[in-house]
Symmetry: D3
Subunit: 172 residues, 6 copies
Amino acid sequence: MRAMLLGRFQPFHLGHARVVEHALEAYEGLVLIIGSATESYTYANPFTGGERHLMIQRTLEDMEARQVSIVSVPDIHRYGVYASHVADLAPPFDVVLSNKELIRYIFEKEGYRVESTPVFKRQTYAGTEVRRRMATGEDWRSLVPDGVAEVVDRIGGAERVKGLYAIERSST
Amino acid sequence: MRAMLLGRFQPFHLGHARVVEHALEAYEGLVLIIGSATESYTYANPFTGGERHLMIQRTLEDMEARQVSIVSVPDIHRYGVYASHVADLAPPFDVVLSNKELIRYIFEKEGYRVESTPVFKRQTYAGTEVRRRMATGEDWRSLVPDGVAEVVDRIGGAERVKGLYAIERSST
Amino acid sequence: MRAMLLGRFQPFHLGHARVVEHALEAYEGLVLIIGSATESYTYANPFTGGERHLMIQRTLEDMEARQVSIVSVPDIHRYGVYASHVADLAPPFDVVLSNKELIRYIFEKEGYRVESTPVFKRQTYAGTEVRRRMATGEDWRSLVPDGVAEVVDRIGGAERVKGLYAIERSST
Amino acid sequence: MRAMLLGRFQPFHLGHARVVEHALEAYEGLVLIIGSATESYTYANPFTGGERHLMIQRTLEDMEARQVSIVSVPDIHRYGVYASHVADLAPPFDVVLSNKELIRYIFEKEGYRVESTPVFKRQTYAGTEVRRRMATGEDWRSLVPDGVAEVVDRIGGAERVKGLYAIERSST
Amino acid sequence: MRAMLLGRFQPFHLGHARVVEHALEAYEGLVLIIGSATESYTYANPFTGGERHLMIQRTLEDMEARQVSIVSVPDIHRYGVYASHVADLAPPFDVVLSNKELIRYIFEKEGYRVESTPVFKRQTYAGTEVRRRMATGEDWRSLVPDGVAEVVDRIGGAERVKGLYAIERSST
Amino acid sequence: MRAMLLGRFQPFHLGHARVVEHALEAYEGLVLIIGSATESYTYANPFTGGERHLMIQRTLEDMEARQVSIVSVPDIHRYGVYASHVADLAPPFDVVLSNKELIRYIFEKEGYRVESTPVFKRQTYAGTEVRRRMATGEDWRSLVPDGVAEVVDRIGGAERVKGLYAIERSST
């Protein structure tokens, strides 16, 4: 059986890496969906789909996690067909790994099995916390895999997040 | 430098595999773009984006070609912004590998270097020929990597192509 | 069990009316999907979604066919998610009535049962024939229910089809 | 003259039913537009277009209100062309029934007559109040027609609204 | 009264210039709509919306035609709402100048007056003829205003058209 | 060198006029982009693209500012390709004039030079202030060029803004 894990990965962090490890132990393969793939350059979604793809690919190489497919999925803005939209773009999967109720609703409606994942320090290992630290200049590197930090550094990602945070705060 | 190769891969065949081998010798890495990712169930585009992703992933595993990113890109129906649309969804690349003049135009316009690729029996190793053989019941397996043939068999792909060909012929 | 019948209904004709009768005998209810709902003012699709809705509603009133839901569905241009798109907009149905192979493929893929419908003089009772007769000034009224003829007359539909045919022929 | 009534009908309630009764007394026919037809699975828009269609159809059958066309209209996200978008998908109408100023603006701009409707206990007979009661487990059945309650029960609608409310509250 | 003239202007030629002159004599002002504004890099639509805007602007400056608004309008792919889409993006106009029946249909439906324009050597002063000459290397400059020729030269437009023609011919 | 200035111009005010004057002194020409061109009939975006085009055109005529191209650009809802989307629809430009950090990010990423503009009483000469005064019935005419005031008066713009403000306040 193959599992599917869906996230925006803004950015991919150590909590995500733990779920990937868990999935690779429990299932034959994993489809990792980068959601909201065409969103970027906002404080909530600072990185492009392509940048996030690269961050994740680097990390999986370091983890030697080969049975993982990375698939970018643009938003379709229709929860009623979202499961079908993902299934159209992704290699086949049997189980959806998610702790989000909405994901559960819209994939169970299409007949998928949905399972919870173990949670690893949810407050710390969270995209919002990583971005908050980037915005304030605190340590964010300890929350992400090395491959992610390397890509973030190369594209000036922390500075971008800081800038986007300032933009958002000033326009309120 | 990293190269980019764009195709619809309906399906991925041995000609594509040769270009991938060439690219991995000549460049540090390769971004493989599955174009027209949301097109499927027509004779010209029989396989879904997800099915094509799986075919390619299997083949790259067999080739032990690890420095390849597979990225699905839906059509945007605007050549004027297509290069930018691809760049938004794909990890960074420097060189575009293509023998198509239109691709050359729209990527050179955005400042990319575009290079031709060696061609390998263009008439035989071609998506149209693979689909034609599937439609007529001739041997198509010798034109595609084993991993592709395996996926096509599992999803009943040759029968689907035969059916889509009949639909198209009858509606003319 | 409830059935679903999908067509463009350009316009709704007596062949369609027969299938509706058949469906209402065999099933508890019928969902009638007006496909390509936002297409209009071409020779292939001369009538707007709203005009087609009205033609069908008049006919169903005359037939006293009350267990029918009329639902307009715009094209989504993705066969891979089309079944899900229809299901999102339509009241629930169990069986798809269709003689088209493509419809069979894309609804069976989502787990629907697809059944053929009896065909009633397919060459004559066909949208293409009705439109051809409108374009050439031949008798088209005998091919459509009275309610449809009445709506076509009120909106100047036959003249519109004649005009659109001339446009198409001149631009070839 | 035919009237048009536009709403999201999340869900259709007794206030809406009163307006329908009023319209059928005052006009020859009614076009009932289900707006935001592709929105679903949010607390503000919990039900799919198809589910809402069914709720309304059941109610109209019970009311023996036959001169009503039900038409689903997806959002076009452009107020400047919205009236034309509705007119393209709906059977013809002459008068728009609405108490909303924005609807008045955008339909009067296109030459439609817009009339107010009698209001029936606006605080109670309101979609927000029905959904609030579903979310909190209070009595919502007394606010909706029997046909609506029946459909909501069959699809587990009240539980869904409760779940969506929890999701929304937790993400604030 | 203000007139509106709609075209794709691929490219703007002397026939168009004559119609503009005619319009400025007969009406107080002119709205010039660049249709299919996001189409480019095909043989039928070689120039981007921005390039066409520049060609027309140069020509109008040379003609000292100041009462003209240039407005780019992307396709909406729905004839049923196209008139409203144009009206939303353009300054107000009263009369539509067109010899195309389809344009007549869809603007008269929305209450506009549609008038024919004088035709000036239709076979020669035509976008298809200008593009054909660019593709074959024949004289095209005599068919377009100087300002257009200047812009075409600066962007390598004739070479582009020649290339796009070759692409199209080879893919048939 | 040609400059580009991007705004929503809801409405165009004297602060904008100053920047245009500045740009015409410093550069050979100016491309003035009307952003969010299809947004209208909200309090934040009360005027249609066509209405804003007319306001600006009137003002430029009064300023005798001839080297200005006015180009309407609909939102594409993807910052990652926005610069390319603008470049596709606009005549060529070299420098982007903007004091907004987000604009700086997304145009510098595509290789454009971005320059700040002199600011002229930012609190007063601001779209939000003009709309606020329209909503409250205070003097807004002194903040906009005469040509803008004339167009606003002709379309009943201040009353519309007042109405939209009331709608927004009541729905909070």
